[in-house]
Symmetry: C2
Subunit: 362 residues, 2 copies
DNA sequence: ACAAATCAACGAAACGTTACGATTCGGCTC
DNA sequence: GAGCCGAATCGTAACGTTTCGTTGATTTGT
């Protein structure tokens, strides 16, 4: 029997050279370490993964052999063998929107603490890109995905169909049954509106953003709730929905300003719409907050340096990222039967009152 | 001989079950596709990689078998076999600095066009983190690395020692011999200073940032050059260096304002220092540009909405990312002997003049 | 008509790990 | 001293691909 295996060598096609794919310096493998330490590869593996006990003497021999050869286990081979890559995919709709880098920072730190790598994808608000990214992430066998989906996303079905570990952040698909972490946007919208109502505003407009995106839909719902509670009329011409970029904020603002009864306050449902709003008001030389109060969602360092300083609803971006990863990890590691204690996590927002909101003029 | 191999089966330890590591639905492999299509796995491989010719009839059989099983090649196995992962690592010092997401967007788009995935790492300006990230990227066998290094980085030696494909972006290590893409920061500093000089400023201060970082060092050099050309004195007390965050900008500004002969203009060497500068001026109620002109590096959408609007030097962030990837790709794919036509790429910056700079008061 | 060349397809080894059954070796009990 | 046990170690198959030498079948050249 030993003979038999020895014989196998004979069938190595002769004259085949072992080609190194490394550019120059040969990389060492477990086999080299094993040879140098005078043990089997299994022992080296045992030392690396320290699951199985190894006597201290041998362990040291292996360790110093690893040291001597500057050996580092090949994660690719390990992934193939284990069926786990220790990598996750993250898809965001627009990495130049300052909101997402903050989420990513939290997420990446948490991932790294657990030895996970992050594959970053930017869908540029295009469902086709999102779909492509998802395919390549699947092909690369990531252990899970964190997804802030874009409008008309088809990702949800694709993922659920495959029962792939996923956590949605910020933007959630409708009829969600998977894990998610998001801001309590209904509460946030309510809180923001309530602030304006408390100041005495009755005619409040909102640059709603895209109704196909859950944060915007929810903030609108919060707005409606607050208005109804205060018995204030909700006027359709004050609610401008559409897209989420700066130019849309600009156009929407002009549309509102051209109404023959102008609102006394305008809220913008994200930071890019807010910039468009500011641009339009600038152009029309409208004074804030004398003529008009304004309020935004998403709060960044520079909001404090606009003139006037901007009242805004701040989200816990860093925590959102961190919690999203932690939830994903639990989903990845759970046993088949096991259910999760909490799947839909909602983070509360915080209103930061500055000088862009004030009681209305009249 | 055939016998011999047939015999091997016998030595399969009996009773060993093939464990699926998939959660539920079994994933299909090339073998399944081959069986269904009635061809060998090599033929399936040939179809997938279409390097070797395959007759149309078989090709179609394979294709429809792939379709039927919803088969997607396992990139992990492919990577192991090929010794190439089609993945690159990107290390940035601070992803919440709006500069880097813009670079990343360009980079990621270019990478995706070439089928490369991006492993994102944030070193949070800490060389120890940077070093860790580099190790895990090596272990994961990425094909190359794009690196914006942090101060006191030790990455350079580690990479050069291993002869690992790398492109530095934005922040370059000293004595660089590897590929790089960066802004012509000397030119940018010169251009910015020149603009202030042309307006009539003679006493110009600069929040220099960190002298261990090439962009800051270079912008200072540009400043010096412009001052010398104009025969203006360079006063040490007007050049405050140190760290690069907002608080440092704030402190540095106060330091300058407390001098008994104040400058008539201040430049901030990055966007975070600029925010600190604004905060300090706000606090001291100093009017811009009446009492003081200010100018920043890095230009973002919101710079247009500060009051006054901010004059700034804009960099080609997107292009920086794209070019960095393209250069890295050439390095990865080059043959051992071959040299590269251009290794150190410098992108020119653009001065955007707005209302925060004006002739000095007196 | 036959050797040589071309071509598509196949089979098996190999990439660098891990998993797991088999083996070895003390130490213990009776 | 035979028999047994557990712990440490070993050897090999397997993960899912690609690579490449080999094999027939078909075409080409003379």
């Amino acid at each position: 029997m030993l003979y038999l295996f020895a014989e196998r060598r004979v069938y190595n096609p002769p004259g085949r050279l072992r080609l190194l794919n490394m550019r120059d310096r040969p990389k060492f493998t477990m086999r080299d370490v094993a040879r140098l330490a005078g043990v089997s590869t299994s022992t080296v593996s045992a030392v690396i993964n320290d699951a199985v006990p190894v006597t201290p003497e041998r362990k040291n021999r292996v360790l110093s052999a690893m040291e001597a050869l500057d050996y580092h286990p090949d994660e690719v081979a390990r992934s193939l063998k284990k069926g786990r890559t220790k990598a996750i995919g993250v898809i965001v709709p627009d990495i130049t929107n300052a909101f997402y880098p903050e989420v990513i920072r939290g997420l990446e730190a948490a991932a790294r603490e657990h030895g996970y790598a992050v594959l970053l994808c930017d869908s540029t608000e295009d469902p086709a890109n999102e779909h492509d990214h998802l395919s390549t992430l699947f092909a690369r066998r990531v252990d899970g995905v964190i997804l802030a989906c874009c409008a008309s996303s088809t990702a949800y079905e694709a993922i659920v169909r495959r029962r792939f570990p996923v956590v949605f952040v910020d933007r959630l698909p409708e009829a969600l049954t998977e894990g998610s972490v998001s801001t309590d946007n209904i509460g946030a919208g309510h809180m923001a509106t309530r602030h304006l109502i408390d100041l005495g505003h009755k005619r409040i407009a909102m640059l709603v953003g895209h109704l196909g995106l859950s944060p915007h839909r929810d903030r609108l719902e919060g707005f409606r709730k607050a208005m109804q509670e205060a018995n204030l009329p909700i006027r359709d011409e004050y609610l401008i929905s559409g897209q989420v970029q700066m130019t849309h904020g600009f156009d929407a603002t002009l549309q509102v300003l051209n109404l023959h009864e102008m609102p006394t306050a305008i809220m913008a449902s994200n930071n890019k719409l807010l910039l468009g709003l500011l641009q339009a008001l600038n152009e029309r030389s409208i004074q804030i907050p004398k003529q008009l109060s304004i309020l935004g969602f998403d709060d960044y360092a520079w909001n404090k340096y606009f003139s006037p300083t901007l009242t805004a609803v701040a989200q816990s971006t860093n925590e959102m990222g961190r919690r999203a990863f932690e939830l994903l990890l639990r989903i990845i590691e759970r046993e088949p039967g096991q259910e999760l204690p909490e799947k839909q996590i909602r983070l509360s927002a915080e209103l930061r009152i500055r000088t862009s909101t004030a009681p209305p003029a009249n």
